[in-house]
């Protein structure tokens, strides 16, 4: 939309922030519950699988020839069937954005401001997100560039201040429960956040420099995945797998444990800031992708008129999306992976096949016309 572009570096930062955002809250607990002290290993495994997934997306983006996923699908499958597929794609992004919003809302209401009603936290947070999406991709890219160092610095601070409490014994025995739990939990991380990367098929065409942007995507996911591994490792090393699984927000509990010589403590808000920043970028990317997608779906010239109405829907959806946190835990544990797999892999793969057939046919036609 309106010809805004971002550099591959900015794109990479967006990918990193997107990978960390909200996964940093959700991932360590359920992983430690099943894979115990090897939870970090299952992230690493799923990261490897995730990187091949990114290669697939990259190849797909190449076939889309500078079109967004929405434009490409309509091009391949035509106005009606294409839009039928896109309905699912866009609803996936929309629901994901609403869930991410609810994540930060639940966190704020549990840990920081329990007496403030959920919807106000959501509205205030979404106003900033809408503003970001209103200003467009360039602003998002540049602010990602500005905030990335802060996220890194805070993570570094977090790691260093926790270092004295690290207990390596918490990681032993290595593979004590066998390899199966590690493998079976790795689907969790593939579902969140790796399959969610499908969102970037809406952003990718607006990234400059076709060659390096592919690398940027892979590298971004790798760095983001490494940060997730680091956080999970810290949870396990300091709290142990038992307490990591017991905690609703293990990394927040982790930050509460920071204690430097008895005077530097109560720094849990450091991790709160990391969450807010990363979730903001995840939200803004999702929100931008949804509104641009819907605009292209409706063949509108500008996505901006859609921002407010979509936001109102999102606030309502985020509140009614699930009745309680236990429902959400089951949802994330059991339902999310198949759901994300359908929309993050099967659907794109379907479009991908269409793209391949179409490009072959185009090539043939080109050959025919050049011969004649």
């Amino acid at each position: 939309m309106d010809n805004q572009t971002i550099s591959p570096r900015q794109f990479m930062f967006l990918v990193i922030l997107f990978t960390i955002g909200s996964s940093i809250i959700i991932v360590p607990g359920p992983l430690a519950a099943q894979a115990k002290q090897d939870a970090w290993l299952s992230i690493t495994i799923s990261l490897l699988i995730g990187l091949t997934l990114i290669l697939f997306y990259n190849h797909m983006a190449k076939l889309m020839e500078g079109k967004t996923f929405v434009q490409a699908t309509i091009m391949v499958f035509g106005n009606w069937f294409g839009r039928f597929i896109l309905f699912f794609y866009l609803s996936f992004l929309f629901i994901l954005a609403a869930l991410v919003l609810r994540n930060i809302g639940d966190f704020m209401t549990t840990e920081i401001i329990p007496e403030t009603p959920l919807q106000f936290t959501h509205i205030l947070f979404l106003i900033v997100v809408i503003w970001g999406a209103y200003l467009g991709l360039e602003v998002m890219g540049r602010s990602a560039e500005m905030f990335m160092p802060w996220v890194f610095l805070l993570l570094l601070f977090f790691t260093i201040t926790l270092a004295p409490q690290i207990n390596v014994e918490n990681l032993q025995p290595f593979l004590g429960e066998g390899f199966m739990p590690v493998l079976s939990t790795s689907t969790f991380v593939i579902g969140t956040p790796l399959l969610e990367m499908v969102t970037f098929l809406m952003i990718f065409p607006y990234v400059k420099d076709a060659k390096t942007k592919r690398k940027a995507w892979v590298l971004g996911v790798f760095i983001g995945g490494m940060i997730l591994t680091l956080i999970t490792l810290l949870c396990l090393l300091v709290l142990g797998s038992d307490l990591t699984a017991l905690n609703t927000f293990p990394s927040y509990k982790l930050a509460q444990k920071i204690n430097i010589a008895g005077f530097l403590e109560g720094l849990e808000i450091v991790i709160g800031i990391i969450w807010m920043l990363t979730i903001f970028f995840k939200m803004v990317v999702l929100y931008y992708a949804v509104s641009v997608g819907v605009a292209q779906f409706l063949t509108m010239d500008d996505h901006r008129p859609l921002l407010l109405p979509l936001g109102m829907g999102m606030i309502v959806l985020s509140i009614i999306a699930y009745p309680d946190v236990a429902y959400f835990e089951t949802f994330v544990g059991d339902t999310w992976f198949p759901y994300a797999f359908t929309h993050g892999f099967i659907l794109p793969a379907f479009v991908w096949i269409g793209l391949i057939i179409k490009s072959k046919r185009d090539k043939k036609q080109k050959d025919l016309s050049s011969h004649s």
Partner: protein
Amino acid sequence: MMLVKKGVFFKIPAIVLCFILLTGCWNSNELDEIGIVVAMGIDKTDDNQYELVAQVINPSEIATDAPTTRPPVSTYSTTGKTLLEAFRKLTHKSPRKMYLSQLRLLVLGKDLAEEGIISSLDLFYREHEFRTGFYVTIAKDTDVDTLLSTLTAYEKIPANKLMNSIEAVETGHGSSKGITIDELISQIHSKGQSPVIAGVFMEGPEEGGTNISNVENIDAPVKLTIDHLGVLKDDRLVGWLDEDASMGYNYILGNIKSSVITHPCQDGTASIEILRTQSSMDAAFAGGEPSISIELDLEGNIGELNCPIDLSKEDSIQNLNKETEKEIKRLMEASIKSAQNDYETDIFGFGSLIHRKNPKYWKTVENDWDTEFKDLHVDIQVKADLRRKGDSTQPIIKEG
């Protein structure tokens, strides 16, 4: 002109809106509206309800230059079916809502501890206001209410006094050890390690500790004292380690930062100041049976001598080394013996060690580890290095 006006019309409401929205916070808790809880005590009453005692700071007494006759802390106690219920019932008695983030100490009553503590800990890990840095202790031979209503000299806030005392004992003597709530929970959950909890008790006449006159004496008649370690089996208090066994426990786990070891030396006694210790544990499996070996390296100084030995000789230092090693080994063995024979519970985490070293073997024993632990063979090696002898070259008792 029109452009300027348009900007103004947008900006002024925006600024006004900011003024309205940014002034307050939905969840604001002003300092004069909250009561800062520094210690909490819980116990079971006879009719199976929880009794909750909260020690709250009197801010005007703590922050003042002109002390009045009012005590620096107040206590409130209630009962309830759950702790949260009891906690909210405190508002009947206290003028302010309680604020929990500054909690220093949680005291568990003896009855509760003997019955099982895990169910009473849920609130302390669930409620978001609690931090995890507070110590959990058990009130020994004193009921929780009396204990928390005792005023302490020197340190105005009794909770701080107890917390500092625990740390002082930990770093200066090593006969007790503070445990935080998350360590406690994870050790109760763990099949391979049972927790130990420091005991606190009140010394002196039953009455009188609550009165401010208690701290007006140079030697306060009623004192709060840190005791040795209480042993838990699962989550129930089964008994107490004595001083030797408590020190042995801390030597085994390498918790000793600084301590003192006293042993006989010719006609008198010698005290060795322990400066630093380093302990390591390993598990070996010979013929399918596990055994544990503990190695302890320590460095110390000669602290006090009242026996006439010739300190200028290398041999005498070596002798002292040997005696120290023997004495520490005795403490460690006392501790292991006490855990194996008296309480039949693995407080050292040998089970966890075996789990880490040999997860397959652990699977076969984890469900009745306590009985396996009883017959576990433990081998102890102590290596002492006395480096210096302080300011005197010879014992003062020795004649030239």
